[in-house]
């Protein structure tokens, strides 16, 4: 295989200064929940390791994942990551067009066989032999299989690739199917959410590019560092839930006081994501902060669980000043046994422990 340049070479070539590079390393460490002592380690890895090639493909989707990523992410982090991945193949952002672009993908696969990461946005529709999503004259499912065959690992961006998302809503007219049901022989990291938070996307991809391994995953295949905490448990409106203070209708007095949105159908109690901590649009806000309940877009099947404005009905017993743990425990039980386990473990800590115990770069998932 050709000698591949290091991340640092790539960044320098893109005109990124040493100072910006170091800033990027410390941002990365912070985003991953690692301490300042990891900054030189990240820098060292990026200076000495050949960069990991990335191929980014789009299936049945709305491109909101890319949009979230390029519009909202911290400009520096996004810049650096984009400069790394856009060298290879991304059909929404790249410069080449038409069949030249398709050729670029074939070339990347050939050159970096078994070395590249395949990032999938959207999913393949399987009905009618895949005819509902045709790119370059072929069904997307074929392109996906082709690109996945020689990939080291796959990232399923967003609810579409991870679970199917709204296009899989009943009656799922195109038989939209999540990636892991089509590709069964590769490690897959699910980064759900509609779209996922930009910082979560950069965090996951940077972790993989920097440490050359998959982040620790939960039972559903989501990176624990971002998906181990319930929105409800970290919600700034949680005290009002515990005190039984609720918004009863839009823009009422209680809404202006910032009371809990549970009665307005908030799915925070059954949703695992980093919205209430990382927040959106560079940490400005998140849906609950804008006065609307969470719709649980990072959970499997969120589009078919009754109306988005129905209350979470399986969270029945609570009252004024009810014990938060009791309520939380009941909700966790609904979602699944595995979650109660990992909810107890701090995401940050587990990422740290894992990194410390494996200081050298390994290819165990390859």
């Amino acid at each position: 295989m050709d000698q591949i340049e290091t991340f640092y070479d790539v960044m320098r070539r893109q005109g990124i200064t040493r100072r910006s590079f170091m800033k990027y390393c410390s941002l990365t460490a912070a985003a991953l929940g690692l301490g300042p002592s990891f900054v030189p380690k990240i820098a060292h890895a990026m200076e000495t390791k050949p960069r990991t090639p990335v191929i980014w493909v789009h299936g049945l989707e709305c491109t909101c994942c890319s949009e979230s990523f390029i519009r909202s992410a911290h400009p520096l982090a996004k810049d650096v990551v984009l400069s790394m991945i856009s060298l290879d193949y991304d059909d929404t952002l790249m410069a080449a067009a038409g069949h030249a672009a398709e050729a670029a993908m074939a070339d990347t696969i050939e050159r970096y066989k078994g070395e590249y990461i395949l990032a999938v946005e959207g999913n393949p529709p399987l009905a009618e032999d895949g005819m509902f999503c045709i790119t370059g004259g072929k069904p997307f499912v074929e392109k996906l299989r082709y690109a996945a065959k020689d990939a080291k690992a796959i990232i399923s961006w967003g609810a579409c690739a991870s679970y199917g998302c709204v296009q899989a809503a009943k009656p799922n007219p195109t038989q939209a199917t999540p990636v892991h049901k089509v590709i069964t022989d590769k490690p897959i990291i699910k980064v759900p959410g509609c779209p996922p938070i930009a910082e979560v996307m950069t965090g996951v991809i940077t972790y993989m590019l920097t440490f050359d391994r998959m982040p620790e995953l939960d039972r559903q295949g989501r990176p624990k560092m971002f998906y181990s905490q319930r929105i409800h448990d970290k919600c700034y409106r949680r005290p009002h839930f515990d005190a039984g203070q609720f918004v009863e209708s839009w823009d009422d007095d209680n809404a202006r006081k910032g009371y809990c949105l549970y009665k307005m159908g908030c799915k925070g109690p059954t949703t695992y994501n980093a919205c209430s901590t990382v927040r959106w649009n560079e940490g400005v806000s998140f849906p609950i902060q804008s006065g609307h309940g969470c719709i649980g877009c990072s959970e499997d099947g969120f589009w078919d669980h009754g109306s988005f404005y129905d209350r979470v009905t399986d969270l029945t017993q609570f009252g004024v000043e009810a014990n938060a743990d009791k309520v939380g425990f009941a909700a966790a039980g609904v979602v699944g046994g595995g979650i109660a386990l990992h909810a107890a473990v701090s995401a940050l800590k587990s990422a740290q422990v894992k990194s410390q115990s494996k200081p050298t770069v390994q290819n165990e998932e390859a």
Binding site: S72, A95, E128, G136, K170, T174, S285, S290, G293
Partner: protein, 475 residues
């Protein structure tokens, strides 16, 4: 007769393929295919009407607020509800920011990158364009991405998250901004104005918005706008990609006293009234069944055999039996902006469409500043209504790319019909029942094709001048 298949197009939201018949170095016939179908209109059936607020934005990750706004209006219409004026103002602010961001994205990331291609090496402007617009690397493109992310802080603040915002409701918005938020929004808008005047226009934006004649436009020299106009003049881009000459706008940003940009249908040199009962969607050349129908009783039945003469998942909407063009340029023409009208009278090609967007960026920035200054934090931001168990509603908005309509029917408290006609459905429609080509198909006819070009540059410019959003086209 050589036939070229151009596509898949990159730097386009969604998938697109164009088939060209070439005769004597020019495009003789074009067929536009939207090869991606998801079936939103089918999924919405049987759902709680309010769920349209969550489902329809997910049609598109780039103009999701437009979908959200159209759904909110359709639901308000079904309830006979007038939104709270302050809520409407904030909803407009949210929507306007998304539209400006889309125009910026189109100019800096999607459209201008084509002028940095090697085929143009040697042109006087090529080096400057390459420096500013080379895909993912140009200094202008990078500055625009940073400015856009910053502007979107307002969406974070008012709407919780972008894309797929939840804050827009039939009665207004869920978030009541306080006095502190107002200051923060004003500051962010101020910074964005700085970007526009420094980088895009190289002059006070009012002076661009006040241009009245095409000669003055082509003489504009400063900023990235000047760079584009220089290249456009050199390549005579307004002579290619001319549309049907009929422009549709539903009217953007409705407010007390009428929309900020007027509604209407501009044809043969003047603006006429809009008659929505004249909208018909044909399916003769689509892989769809059941046409022609008005969207209020429209059907979405994909033809799984994909039988000829169908060649696209897109239906073919027509206004009073005729092809119309929609988008920022159409909006400015219908609104009577003197420069836009003069450009439309001269034929309205590629340059006009891009100029229409630039005019609109400048004018919308001024509107955003006015709306922000007018926010009254003490007023109600949401009016309450009751969802009827049976009823109908229409939601019309102007998305960045043009006229977007949602037609909703509720029976027994559930959605019984939901039809969406998106801007790119109008612009990129296939042939209708009479075999008349859609707006882009017609605009491509006559485009020059070099002997050794397999992805003709003129075709790239024409297609992108419409700023296609293919995921909205077929949903």
């Amino acid at each position: 007769m050589p036939r070229l298949v151009v596509g898949p197009f990159n730097r386009v939201e969604g998938d697109l393929e164009v088939t060209l018949d070439v005769e004597e170095g020019r495009v003789a016939r074009a067929r536009v295919n939207s090869p991606l179908f998801r079936g939103f209109e089918i999924m919405l059936l049987g759902k709680d009407p309010r769920d349209a607020l969550t489902l329809t934005p997910r049609i598109c990750g780039i103009c999701s607020i437009s979908q959200s706004a159209a759904a909110a209006r359709a639901l308000a219409d079904a309830q006979g509800l007038t939104p709270a004026p302050e809520g409407e103002r904030v909803a407009q602010l949210i929507h306007g920011i998304e539209n400006v961001c889309d125009h910026l994205t189109h100019f800096y990331l999607f459209f201008m990158a084509d002028f940095a291609r090697p085929a143009y090496v040697g042109r006087t402007w090529h080096a400057a364009v390459e420096d500013r617009f080379l895909a993912t690397q140009g200094s202008g493109a990078r500055a625009a991405v940073a400015a856009r992310a910053q502007l979107m802080h307002i969406l974070g603040l008012l709407a919780g998250k972008w894309p797929h915002t939840l804050a827009l409701q039939p009665g207004g918005v869920t978030r009541a901004p306080g006095p502190r938020d107002k200051v923060r929004i004003a500051l962010t808008l101020r910074q964005f104005r700085g970007f526009l005047e420094r980088e895009l226009f190289g002059a006070p934006l009012e002076s661009f918005a006040e241009l009245t004649d095409p000669a003055a436009l082509m003489a504009w020299e400063t900023g990235d706008a000047g760079l584009f106009l220089h290249a456009a003049a050199d390549l005579d881009l307004d002579a290619v990609g001319r549309g049907p000459g009929r422009y549709l706008s539903y009217g953007a940003y409705p407010q007390a006293g009428g929309p900020a940009f007027a509604a209407g249908l501009w044809a043969e040199g003047r603006r006429g009234a809009l008659d929505l009962s004249e909208v018909v969607e044909h399916t003769a050349h689509s892989w769809m069944q059941g046409g022609p129908r008005h969207p209020a009783d429209g059907l979405t039945e994909p033809d799984e055999d994909m039988a000829a003469p169908g060649y696209s998942w897109c239906k073919a909407p027509r206004m009073a039996g005729q092809v119309v063009e929609t988008g920022a340029f159409a909006r400015q023409v219908v609104d009577g902006h003197p420069l836009a009208v003069a450009l439309a009278r001269a034929g309205g090609g590629v340059t006009s469409r891009v100029a229409g967007r630039l005019i609109e960026i400048a004018r919308t920035q001024v509107l955003l500043e006015t709306w922000c200054a007018g926010i009254d934090p003490d007023a109600p931001f949401m009016a309450r209504g009751m969802m009827p168990s049976d009823g109908e509603g229409v939601g019309l908005v102007e998305a960045a790319r043009g006229a977007l309509g949602h037609w909703l029917r509720i029976e027994g408290g559930r959605i019984a019909g939901y039809q969406i006609v998106a801007p790119t459905t109008w612009n990129f429609s296939p042939r209708d029942g009479d075999g008349v080509p859609g707006a882009l198909e017609a605009a491509l006819e006559g485009a020059p094709v070099g002997a050794d070009e397999d992805t003709p540059l003129s075709v790239q410019h024409i297609v992108r001048s419409f700023d296609p959003c293919m995921v909205c086209t077929v949903h």
